[in-house]
Symmetry: C2
Subunit: 169 residues, 2 copies
DNA sequence: TCGAAAATGTTGAATGTTCAAGAATTGGGA
DNA sequence: TCCCAATTCTTGAACATTCAACATTTTCGA
């Protein structure tokens, strides 16, 4: 490891020249990290995702694969593009994850008869059985959250998140 | 690409044997993906993070580096462990990201005099200047959210997220 | 005081993701 | 009709992250 011997450490006292006489509400308030919405979302997501990951690891399956199985478990064929949007993965990442799932016989590919550029994904019986077990694990996590966090707060949080997603996209 | 010729597609009609006569509230409800808290959090986080990323890309800096600079901008030395917790990164990931930031002269390492296992991180003047510009970009994003999403909803959402993080960890 | 266990940070190999480019197909205007 | 642009998905190289193992230092009990 390399540790610098010396470095500039001068404290600069340059007031913002735009501030002039106003005191309240500086133009670029130095908000603490923990008050930024983006940070709170990242933190909450990390924690909840970690818990879910721990549960699903019983079956040795990453969260994204559970999402994929869940989307496909309607029995319909879903194109790679639609699937990528639904499970929040980039296209190349999805392609490679699907490759693994095909190896594990959880899903299979079919070419779309109407548009041969498209590939339709389907869930196998093996995948369905696994998905059912995973749903159970995920449901128990949600139940656990409801206990600690409360029914009302959870519902309200979900509602606000849905609105944010609508407003932001 | 390899597409399967044929695959098992039999629809299995196995009712849950535990269900018997109850009809409402099956034991493991097949909740749609979009109603899971974990999914909503992932979706919202992805969207907001993407927006922030876009803004910060003006300066060619990833979100995580902004967080690091922000934490260090109190001028105090922060150990790698504390920093990793604060900016939501694993230790090895942080080590390598800090390596890059040291190359860019944004931060520097010092050994802790009181506990020589520890490495303390400091921000450089160059890093401070960059951080100030990044704060500006981030603030403008928050302002943009407040416009579209509303002051009240944002405050309420932040409050609920803070509570969730407390309850979940 | 000594030594084993815990704490802290880094490294290298394995793994996963992303970016840019490519192949195949479709659609639509000249 | 024909051709070029747009769409859809995959691939390979560059890049980043993670896991396990390691080195160093501290802590704490015998």
């Amino acid at each position: 490891m390399h540790i610098d011997r010396a470095a500039t450490a001068g404290q600069s006292f340059n007031r913002d020249p735009q501030a002039k006489f106003t005191v309240a509400k500086p133009p670029h308030p130095n908000t603490p990290l923990t008050e930024h919405l983006a940070y709170l979302l990242a933190q909450a997501n990390r924690e909840i995702n970690r818990q879910l990951e721990t549960r699903l690891s019983t079956e040795g399956v990453p969260v994204e694969q559970w999402r994929i199985l869940k989307v496909l478990s309607d029995g319909e064929g879903h194109s790679m593009g639609d699937l990528a949007d639904a499970v929040l993965l980039n296209h190349p990442t999805l392609t490679k994850m699907i490759d693994r799932m095909v190896s594990d016989s959880l899903v299979y590919r079919r070419q779309d008869a109407h548009d041969r550029r498209k590939v339709l994904m389907f869930i196998s019986d093996h995948g369905k059985a696994l998905c059912k077990r995973l749903n159970s694990l995920a449901a128990s996590q949600e139940a656990h959250i409801l206990e600690n966090y409360g029914d009302k707060a959870t519902g309200e949080l979900k509602r606000l998140l849905e609105n944010l997603i609508d407003a932001a996209s």
